[in-house]
């Protein structure tokens, strides 16, 4: 309080408070009554904090359009008389190969006896699936590789990365290949058509793109309302299935580029999709710890595989279509009978999340890959 004069007029001019309040021992109280003005930047900070909180809450809220699957929906319409045959097969661990670091992506080619791994550091490695010997290594991407796919003849390898590009590598002549550029966010999923003519990529930029492998031309773009995390092409090469991070699965006609149907059943990220070998069913692995089997004729779920403790990251059909394998964050691979939807076997051995499972062409050997960097093979006795 500044007081330099006893004159009432002067005092009131120089003092912080009027004369009649000067002698009140209430300086603290009066001071306390004056609310501290928040600066514009402080207000902006508080507003952005509130906006960020609301955005995250909205983002984390489950999708409301999902259909609750009733147990009665799980019809045994796909049951076959010889289903019991699959129950006799028990898989045992046979080989374990140490890869090069964290692996999200793997693919097996039975005829060429090779498997490929895409690594966190952006390299692709090609291994001999019998000896586990490293055959080729290609430093391709500038960021982690999330998915790879080998062509049906084993000549080409497509890899997709968090650097927003897809790369096509020719494994036979070991040429560097070329990149397909067009996505603007992480590419989470990749698949190739059975005739090796098309490659389809699903990205967190909410689009799935169809590319011509030979020319590198972009043929179609399919849009989701959320980031796409999985894609699969039917065995006849006509239907594309794409799943997003909010549990929606869309079916598209690859020739016309039109949407055919939307499957509602999951509420969280669809991590993997695979068609049955006869193309009549679709299997989806989800963050909600389940895998759902869809009948593509009725577009309804016919089975739900529940048993994993955590998210299901990878799914695979055996070549005879009777067995399903699921790989999970809970570090296990589970085998299920398609007709009865009964759990058959749990394979344990990986130390961290399993991101890839795949049967070989005979269905007697199963490959699983994990972020612990190991590739494990399991075979029937």
């Amino acid at each position: 309080m500044i007081v330099t004069s006893t004159s009432p007029q002067t005092t009131s001019r120089l003092s912080l408070y009027p004369t009649d309040q000067r002698h009140q021992p209430k300086a603290r109280k009066v001071k306390g009554k004056r609310p501290k003005q928040k600066s514009t930047i402080e207000k902006l900070g508080l507003i952005s904090l509130a906006a960020a909180g609301i955005t995250m809450l909205i983002d984390l809220a489950p999708a409301t359009i999902a259909t609750k699957i009733q147990p009665t929906d799980m019809v045994a319409s796909v049951a076959k008389a010889d289903a019991a045959l699959t129950l006799d097969r028990q898989f045992e661990p046979t080989q374990a190969f140490a890869g090069n670091g964290v692996t999200y992506a793997s693919d097996l080619h039975s005829k060429k006896h090779i498997f490929a791994t895409g690594n966190f550091n952006g390299t692709v490695d090609i291994w001999d699936s019998t000896s586990g010997k490293l055959q080729q290594s290609h430093a391709i991407h500038s960021d982690a590789i999330e998915d790879i796919v080998l062509s049906s003849n084993g000549e080409l390898l497509a890899s997709s990365s968090w650097d927003n590009t897809i790369h096509i590598t020719n494994l036979d002549n070991r040429q560097r290949g070329y990149s397909l550029i067009g996505h603007t966010d992480d590419i989470k999923a990749l698949t190739m058509s059975p005739d090796d003519r098309l490659v389809v990529s699903g990205s967190f930029d909410k689009s799935a793109k169809v590319w011509d492998v030979q020319s590198g031309k972009l043929l179609h773009t399919f849009e989701h309302s959320h980031g796409i995390t999985s894609v699969a092409i039917s065995p006849d090469g006509k239907i594309l299935a794409s799943g997003d991070r909010r549990g929606k699965i869309s079916l598209w006609d690859l020739d016309s580029g039109l949407k055919q149907a939307t499957l509602h059943g999951h509420t969280r990220t669809v991590w993997d999709l695979v068609f049955s070998p006869d193309g009549t069913m679709l299997l989806s692995g989800n963050q909600d710890k389940t895998a759902i089997l869809w009948d593509l004729n009725t577009l309804a779920p016919v089975g739900i595989f529940e048993g994993h403790q955590r998210a299901v990251y990878a799914v695979a059909f055996s070549p005879d279509g009777r067995t399903v394998a699921t790989g999970s964050y809970d570090r296990t691979v589970k085998l299920w009978d398609v007709t009865t939807q009964q759990h058959r076997q749990t394979l344990e051995g990986h130390k961290t999340a399993i991101w890839g499972v795949e049967f070989d062409d005979t269905g007697t050997r199963l490959m699983s890959s994990s972020t612990d960097g190991n590739i494990r093979f399991w075979a029937t006795q």
Partner: protein, 179 residues
Amino acid sequence: MNALSEALPLDFAPLGNNLGFLALAAYIATLVPTTVRIVLPQFKSHNAVRWLLKQRRAIGILAFVLAVGHTYFVVRKRNFDFFDLHTYQASAEGASTLIIFTLLSITSNDWSIKRLKKNWKRLHTLTYMAMFLLTWHVINKMAGQWTMITPIAATSILTITVLFCIRQLTEFRKHRSNS
């Protein structure tokens, strides 16, 4: 578009990257006043510099909020496993910076200044460590996948880091000549 030959020179940045860029800009704004005071003393009385100095605490908290938003959107899409050491190794510099920002933000209040006394100043020198971590973060994470905002981000953080080094050198010389 023939994707083989007509690659986009720079991609548009997704939301997570934009939030990271804004967080970086806010963080640099907190470093500007003290750096300018030593390195470019002719500008130290400039209104903009004085305003930044006055609002430094609020801008720092804003940087933290934006950094949290950036982390959220990146974690959401990058398969971040909180129980796997590998993912922390992959994002070591980002995670370390966020820890520093958190410490600085929760102690950016009068009560903490009174309570921590001299240690408060020591604690808040961590902001300079964040500068080097962020330089590494921007260059390492965006290598080979620059977006439209990456050149601005890289230039800004490198400039403020160089100015900081000049400031340290100036202060060191001044201290030596005094002693």
